[in-house]
Subunit: 307 residues, 2 copies
């Protein structure tokens, strides 16, 4: 069964890692949001792509879910000491990746080509694709004005109240090489438990499923909201600020007619009856490696039964 | 006594540090070679400037003389792991400086302004000036063709045979703000024990002493060659390849009519009689902090007796 997973950062990376533990590498393609990408200290940084790759490579910091394990912070400490930008922390090992990616991008290489080579160097089996090689930049409209995503997310710690989102460049951004082929070959598409607004929506807008895959395989989403809260990140806060009660139900409605199935946590079992498509109620909180594989296995089983 | 010291990397930094231990900060200006500067991994790197600043700030690696003490190498290890350029090692702490300098240069700030701010952040008392804010790039002509300095020095480990040198951009490079003023106010100018060909010559060509200071104060050089060898770096090898026997005498002749006095090591005492200007024969090998201050003190004493 060929699976395409759409993923943002930590939650998406964890489920992708679960799937990678089960599926043969050639049967899993992870398409990753690049709307969070930004330039900082002259470096081209792709936070979601790195989180997914680090996680699949076993290089991620298991405590935080993002960044590198066994990381040091000597470069950024010196930037700060000299009065440079101090709001975005870059670990030293992580910095090596940004330096090399930036160098290669400046040589005219594509983000997808660079990602493929990095994954090969790290021994990552599944295919990891940025959603696009073109620049897409998520802008968060807030009560304090429009903010580039990292400015909102890291610098302002998600404090400004959200009014909406736009994705600069999305109209002209083509799916990265391999994205359309993977979608057309897929037996199922999984929307990972990532932020619907700023992780999955930009991917969906780039890949344009309706035209890319007119007769799509089953599409299943895993709710990133458990008991009305997000495990990580501002998805629940975003729903609330946009006037929608944050819940797994809100996520299911978010994806509307796209889905053939929906996965929600056992704590949200009572929402099941309000969701008019097949649901899987299971433990979706991935606290350790086993949780990741268990959830992935359950989702795959659910998909098989849908078909 | 106001002193201006012209310096390249490690040897120059050590004597500058000795002078800084003795002179009030306002009486010492160090003018540093920037011909070795280069761009690597998208970063603007100023090796001599950093060696001088790190040394004066007490941040330098005492074993190597260059780079940072207590350094880690996690970023560059990851660049290498991904197949990136592996011939120039950049420590993590060091990298922070390059990132912040590059960021500020791209904002249009000058190298001299950035250096002043960095020195302030590090508590460096003496004034450290790049010879110029304009780009000067040392090119080493070799039997294998022209090589940018770091390519020759680091990548090729000084292996190609030297035929000459040129300094790209030197005709249009203006002395950095403060350089001319410091030279005109100086009671003496010290050519530190740095490479005459690629450290001191570019500075001399930029500052144009004849026109800048028509009636110069005493100029004294300290030989970087001891017993026919350099403590560090390729100066002796360069002399030999250019058909000149490497020696303190060759250094004294190199600077020709510029000097009022010359400082050479005790092991070279017998060369003294061949040098037609006043000489100081003393221990010039700076193995520890005390050696630096002792040599600086001896040079200052020598200068006072010249006047």
């Amino acid at each position: 069964m060929k699976i395409v997973a759409l993923a943002g950062g930590v939650g998406g990376a964890k489920l992708a890692h679960g799937l990678a533990q089960i599926l043969p590498p050639e049967d899993l393609t992870v398409i990753v949001n690049t709307g969070d990408d930004f330039e900082h200290l002259g470096l081209s940084i792709s936070p979601d792509l790195d989180t997914v790759c680090y996680t699949l490579a076993g290089l991620a910091n298991f405590e935080t879910g993002w960044g590198r394990a066994d990381e040091s912070w000597n470069a950024i400490a010196n930037v700060k000491k000299l009065g440079g930008p101090n709001w975005f922390n870059l670990g030293d090992r992580d910095l090596g990746i940004h330096l090399e990616r930036t160098r290669r991008l400046k040589l005219g290489q594509s983000l997808s080509q660079i990602t493929r080579d990095f994954c090969q160097a790290w021994g990552v089996g599944p295919t990891v694709l940025p959603m696009s090689d073109g620049a897409v930049r998520t802008i968060v409209s807030t009560d304090e004005g429009d903010l580039p995503f990292q400015e909102y997310f890291v610098h302002r710690r998600c404090e400004p109240k959200v009014r909406g989102f736009r994705f600069e460049g999305i109209e002209t951004a083509e799916p990265a090489p391999g994205v359309v082929e993977a979608l057309q070959a897929a037996d199922a598409i999984i929307l990972c438990p990532s932020n619907p607004w700023v992780s999955i929506d930009p991917i969906l807008q780039v890949i344009q499923l309706q035209s890319t895959v007119p007769h799509p395989p089953p599409i299943v989403a895993v709710s990133p909201i458990i008991g009305g809260q997000t495990v990580k990140g501002p998805a629940a806060k975003m729903y609330a600020e946009l006037g929608i009660e944050p819940s797994a139900l809100a996520v299911a409605r978010h994806y509307q007619n796209l889905l053939r199935g929906f996965v929600l946590d056992t704590v949200d079992a009572e929402l099941q009856e309000k969701i008019p498509i097949p649901t899987l109620v299971t433990n979706t909180l991935m606290k350790d490696l086993t949780d990741r594989a268990t959830l992935a296995q359950a989702v795959l089983h659910f998909i098989r039964n849908l078909s």
